[in-house]
Structure formats: C-alpha cells, structure tokens
C-alpha cells in the first residue's frame, strides 16, 4: 500500500505546482490565499482512488482558470495576460540567473558566481588603476599601445609613478565604494564600464594596427620613435598603417 501513496503524493505536488504556475501573475498574497486549500483538496480527491487527478479535475490550467474566475480575480483578462507574460518572463529570467549563479559557481569551486566575483574584486581594482594610468598617458589622443608601463610624456619614471598612484587610488576607491550606498556605487559602476569600453576600444585599435604592420609587443622599445609625432609607434614600418590604426582606433 506504500507505493500508491507515494505516487499520489507526487501527483498532488505536480498538479498543485502546475496550478500555482498558472496563477503566477496574481499578487503573491492573493495567490497563496487562493491556493491555501489546494493541497488538502487534491490529497482528498487522490485518496478516493477513482482515477488520476487530471481525469477527475481536468488539467491544472483549466482548474486554475476556473478557480480564478469563481474567485472573481479575472476582471481584466487583457491586462492580466500582459501582466502574466511580463511576470513570467521576469521570473524565468531571475530563475535562470540564480541557476547559472549557483551552477557555474559550483563548477568553479564557489557557492555562487557572485562569491567568485567578490573574491576577484581587488584584482579588478588593480586592473582599473592600470587602465586609468594608460588613459592619463594617452595625451596625444591617438589610441595606441603605450607599453605595459606607459610613458608620461617622454618620462618612463613619470609613467611608473602615475601607474602606481592610479592603482593605489583605485584600490582605495574600491574599498570605499564597497560599503557605499546605492547611488555612489552606481556612479562607480558607470565609470568602470566606461573605462572598460575605452580599454577595449584601444585594444582593438592596437590589435588592428598590429595586424596591419605585423608588429606586436611593447612598441616603444621594439620600434624606434617615428619621425612624424602624430604617428602611432606601433605602426611605424608600413606606410598605410597610421591611417588604418587611426580609423580602427576611433571607429571602435
């Protein structure tokens, strides 16, 4: 006698879940009130042993529609449908995000991806400081590679100082914004996104020019400084390259 009980309780659970999903657009409190008696009802019907729940009660969606209509919660069908669709897609998105968060996180040895991201944050702060240093030294506005430690003007030492200062400032700012309220954090995020976009733009521009001139690596040491002051050093050898580097750098 154990097996049928087990099967029917599973059936009850699945049926109840399907009804719940069909009512997902209702406000949570209203929905829970409406579903309060459902498990008991289904258990009782299942216990009568006169066929499956679907045979006795119809499919769960029909049950839900009947329940909703009888409870008088079906007054704006058009609006309900739109709200239902929005609510469902939002919930599906949130569910997927949560599943990815835990699933991928576990694959990488963390409870959630979020925890990994938190652990990686100081690393990002260092990278951010470095990007800012690159940006500060990009004075000629021709986006190109300045070397791992950029020159400030012509001074390598100045570049080192700027890079270290920017990294320290970024770390300090990171520690501060970690516990800041919502809107300063929002600004910090916006600035970070802008920095990343800028860095990617320069990087694609640099890769483009490198591909054209068949040169790669820290250009300042690999190539002698070109005669024309506006030419990117990375593109020194090919005559067409400066224009290409310029256009790819700016279009990106």
């Amino acid at each position: 006698m154990n097996a049928p009980t087990l099967i029917s309780s599973l059936e009850v659970e699945q049926y109840a879940q399907a009804v719940r999903e069909a009512l997902a657009d209702l406000p949570a409190a209203e929905r829970e009130e409406l579903l309060e008696d459902l498990p008991d009802h289904l258990a009782e019907v299942a216990a009568e042993d006169e066929g499956t729940l679907r045979e006795r009660l119809g499919d769960p969606q029909t049950y839900a529609a009947e329940l909703r209509a009888a409870a008088g919660l079906d007054t704006h069908p058009g609006r309900e449908t739109l709200r239902a669709a929005l609510a469902r897609s939002y919930r599906n998105g949130a569910d997927l995000a949560t599943r990815l968060d835990t699933g991928l996180g576990r694959a990488m040895g963390y409870p959630r991806v979020r925890d990994l991201a938190r652990a990686l944050r100081p690393g990002w702060w260092v990278l951010r400081g470095w990007i800012v240093a690159q940006l500060l030294c990009d004075a000629d506005e021709v986006h190109h590679w300045h070397g791992l430690v950029p020159d400030a003007g012509t001074s390598q030492a100045g570049g080192v100082v700027i890079t270290i200062a920017a990294i320290l400032a970024s770390l300090w700012l990171g520690r501060r914004t970690e516990h800041a309220s919502a809107w300063p954090r929002g600004i910090a995020t916006a600035v970070s996104v802008a920095l990343v976009v800028w860095a990617l733009t320069v990087l694609t521009g640099y890769l483009g020019s490198a591909a054209t001139s068949y040169e790669f690596g820290p250009a300042s040491s690999a190539t002698p400084a070109p005669a024309a002051p506006t030419s990117p050093p990375a593109a020194g050898t090919a005559p067409i390259a400066p224009a290409t580097a310029l256009s790819t750098g700016r279009s990106g």
Partner: protein, 109 residues
C-alpha cells in the same frame, strides 16, 4: 441546455445554502452540493466561490485540527452571509416563478 451555464449564476446561492445547514470544509461542501443534485459543479468553482464569499465578508473560517489527516479549514455563515442568503433566496424565488409561468404558458399555447 447546459446546466453548468445555469450553475454559474446560482453557485453563490447554492454554496451559502449548503453552509447554512452545517459548517463545512471545501471538499465536504463540493460533495454536499453534488449529493443535492448539482452533479456538474466543478471543484475549483466551489473553492473559488468560497474564497470570494469569504473575502466579501459573508463567511467566516476556522481551522479544525485533525489527528489523522490534514488540519481542515471550515467555512461558516455569518450574519452578513445569512442576510445575503435571505435576499438571494427571494430573488431566486421570483425568478423561478417567472420562469415556471413562462415555460408553462408556452407549453400550453
């Protein structure tokens, strides 16, 4: 004619009448409606109606603990429910009389 269509209009009245006789929990009320001859009544319709009548303040609820099965929520008629039932009963009686007269008259003609 489909009796489920007729039922929609009078389910409130039928549920109130069943609960007036005796307090009941959801499925118990479904069974009593069926044994009173309303075989077409849908389970979900009764549960939804109970919920709506409760929200409208015509029914009160209380939970009865059970030692074997689940704790059951019982519905009982309150004064507002009784007044509503009395009113609906008069409306129904007039309506039914009119329909009888109409139908009998048509049959005789």
């Amino acid at each position: 004619m489909d009796s489920t269509q007729l039922l929609k209009g009078v389910l409130d009245l039928a549920v109130l009448a069943v609960v007036r006789d005796q307090d009941g929990y959801g499925y118990d009320i479904v069974r009593r409606l069926r044994s009173a001859g309303l075989h077409e009544v849908g389970d979900a319709s009764v549960y939804g109606t109970l919920r709506r009548l409760f929200q409208a303040g015509l029914l009160t609820t209380y939970v009865v603990p059970s030692e074997t099965g689940p704790h059951r929520k019982y519905y009982a008629l309150n004064d507002a429910g009784r007044a509503q039932l009395e009113l609906s009963r008069k409306v129904w009686a007039e309506f039914a009389t009119s329909m009888h007269t109409l139908l009998d008259g048509t049959a005789a003609a």
